[in-house]
Chain length 463, copies 2
């Protein structure tokens, strides 16, 4: 692509459109936006802009398209694969100020928002209506970022991911045109599913500026439980049996010993230091809930479970999930001076035990310090590899281990990324995972973004 | 489009490929395939073929693309908008013999099938494993047809539609190339979502030949109930309150008095002849189930409910759902000599009462005999208009009523079709519903099928 260098004339245009205070070329602003929560870094935008409306985004994108300047949307930078980084410089569109909640339509279990709304902040407001947006990436991501990466998390085993909870979008296309695919009904068989085409496309086909989201009712009753096992294999086998039993857990998380130890150290959690499952059940009746937990315990016991703590109260339960959400943060804090790569494969449930075993053995083979945890209930495994990323020898081992583990997941019928997206880090696995479908993806990209200005360097290159 | 007339040479090619017994130009075969279950009829293919494999479909489509011959996939003809009819003649690909179940992967809650498998037949086999494919269109449709139209039904309120239950597809593209988008993991954030792009595209972007479907466990316990109300408005208000209460019914169906009467006459059902809700709850515990039903009854009573019959046994429950599924069939049988158009709008739940009222009042205004029923729990309304379709005056009224009702649904943030698809009948509503998104749909169609050979005359015309 023949991108044009960002010029003073371009800067003037943006300042005229947005005013001086919503356009910055300041070093610290460029620095802040040069990396996300992953180890990918050093990708500097030429300019950062803070639009307020879809119309402003449209004007920016239309201008960029005309002048061949890359445009990359940015939520809050909690992504884990370099998804919003300006590989080719250009304009970074920060959604920080597009954080309006237009309408809470509780009567339809829906909310209409701007893409810059942060989901934890939104869920706090929605809780007053007894509602919440269920996909739960842990970090306080923006809705736009979640849509871009099809984010999911601990609640996905019950409620689905972002993809399953979006009714309608407002999207700025590469030429600046605005479309509003989808509708507010619960279901539709009308037209091509542009909403799903955009979700997970990481801003490479269009920039999402507004969304209507489907909400769930906050469950009346819940019961959390912590189960420990002598081996990780027994823990994952219990996951498989729980999922096959007809129980519908609201969360089912795996943590290996290293991860549990870090949580104990960093959060003084007092967990038994064994391979562990965190789980939660929800319901409208205490009796039914109690039966669910009892069945889960029986299944755990059949798999050699040593400790089973259930009936955790609201406060302890919230701490449990906070600790789970902060696991990656704790791991980083616990290893000062080291760098981190976080893997994110997902496989069919029946292969999860095999996948976890393979992954752990692979990093042992390479002598890499690692932490394994993940959304076990939907076959999603995270593995944090820790080391010195200035050390070329280590990086070679890291990349080899990463390649072997991701390849293994794909060969099991799984995917290179369960929820973090392709970004910079997973692009090399696209041909292996998608085969001939990749060519069609490239054609779609070329058709929808012929000048390749939308978040270039991600997902696919135009054919 | 400059389609080429189907020639003897083309026939020879097909016979050489498939053998004489899997190619037919016989009048009765063309006649059988000239109409579906809707009033659209008289669209004759030039030839009907019965392939056995993806490779054969690929060869047929590649040939058709090269020779500019339309190709239209056909499941079993239970569609309700003329979806698989050959508007421009050409080759009709009947999936009747592509009915293999490749693998029941019970351990992953998935099944791999050819597109010609019929879903009721498949579910009978899956029931031995305690599993079922949840989207339930009523008719014994093929999986390919369900994917093409994004079919759904009485179970969708709990389990989602076809769109929500497909993991992976095999698709023959317009040039004959075969792609296999998707994967077998529970979730993924990798690449553009081609699976969802294909689902609901009615064979206009590619022909689905195989699929891996997500399955649900057959619930251990269920409880069906029948509730009657003095007015349809009270019944729909109860639907709205039930859905807002946190209850998660496995089915929640509305039937107006006319529909109930027909079911009584045709199936001797002995139902009270009032506006009626059929509902079902499922669970793992009798206690929890009982609580759910009690709460539903309380909500119904608050809305003026007159009769509430619950705890219906397995046999009576199966009869209940059979009667609901056969409602359209009964209506047709009960009105010999008349013709029928079935409407299929969906609106946000909060507008359902208003939508039903508007629809019923509209057909009254035009003096049209009608029957209203639908998947109330997800805001989906069916309305059967009965009359003499040879009578031009009636047809004008019918079309005016249809236009007003569908327009009203769209203006409420709803959709022209909840589950029947666009086909022939709903094409005229595409601009109203999709606005500027329609242009992108046309571009996608043109890119993926530049010669316009795939099910032409449906969904969108190439731009």
């Amino acid at each position: 692509m023949n991108y044009q260098p960002f010029s003073d004339k371009d800067l003037l245009f943006l300042k005229k459109l947005l005013g001086d205070d919503r356009v910055s070329t300041g070093a610290s602003n460029l620095e802040i936006h040069s990396h996300d929560e992953s180890f990918h870094s050093g990708y500097y935008p030429d300019v950062v802009v803070w639009p307020l409306t879809t119309e402003e985004v449209s004007t920016i994108v239309a201008y960029a398209n005309q002048h061949l300047i890359p445009v990359t949307p940015w939520g809050v930078g909690t992504s884990l694969e370099g998804n919003p980084l300006c590989v080719y410089g250009g304009i970074l569109v920060d959604f920080d100020r597009m954080d309006k909640i237009f309408a809470i339509r509780a009567e339809d279990f829906q909310v209409d928002v701007q893409a810059g709304v942060k989901y934890q902040d939104m869920n706090k407001i929605l809780s007053r209506h007894g509602l919440f947006f269920a996909p739960d990436p842990g970090a306080n991501a923006t809705i736009g970022g979640m849509i871009g990466n099809n984010a999911s998390g601990v609640r996905t085993v019950k409620y689905g991911g972002t993809r399953d909870n979006v009714a309608k979008l407002t999207v700025v296309l590469a030429n600046g045109e605005v479309i509003r695919p989808g509708n507010l009904a619960q279901k539709s068989s009308s037209g091509y599913d542009l909403v799903h085409l955009i979700i997970g496309s990481e801003g490479t086909l269009g920039i999402v500026t507004e969304a209507s989201l489907r909400l769930a009712g906050i469950p009346e009753r819940f019961s959390a439980a912590v189960a420990t096992f002598p081996t990780i294999r027994q823990a994952t086998q219990a996951v498989y049996d729980i999922m096959g039993s007809g129980l519908g857990p609201a969360a089912l998380e795996l943590l290996d010993v290293s991860t549990v130890k870090v949580i104990n150290t960093e959060a003084n959690a007092g967990l038994e230091e064994d391979p562990t499952l965190f789980m939660e059940f929800t319901g409208t009746s205490d009796v039914a809930l109690g039966e669910d937990v009892k069945l889960a315990e029986t299944i755990c016991k059949e798999n050699g479970n040593t400790g089973f703590q259930s009936g955790v109260g609201r406060e302890a339960r919230n701490r449990l999930w906070e600790n789970r959400h902060k696991a990656y943060e704790y791991i980083k804090r616990n290893n000062p001076g080291l760098d981190f790569m976080i893997l994110d494969t997902a496989v069919p449930l029946s292969r999860y035990t095999e996948m976890v075993t393979f992954a752990v053995e692979t990093i042992q083979k390479y002598g890499i310090k690692g932490y394994a945890f993940g959304h076990a209930g939907d076959g999603n495994l995270h593995l944090v590899l820790a080391g010195d990323f200035q050390d070329e020898d280590f990086c070679r081992k890291r990349d080899d281990a990463n390649f072997e583990i991701v390849s293994q997941a794909i060969s099991m019928g799984g995917t290179a990324t369960g929820e973090h997206g392709i970004g910079i880090g997973k692009k090399k696995f696209m041909p292996m995972e998608h085969g001939k479908s990749l060519e069609l993806m490239k054609q779609i990209k070329k058709m929808m973004d012929p000048n390749g200005i939308l978040n270039p360097g991600k997902m696919v290159d135009p054919s």
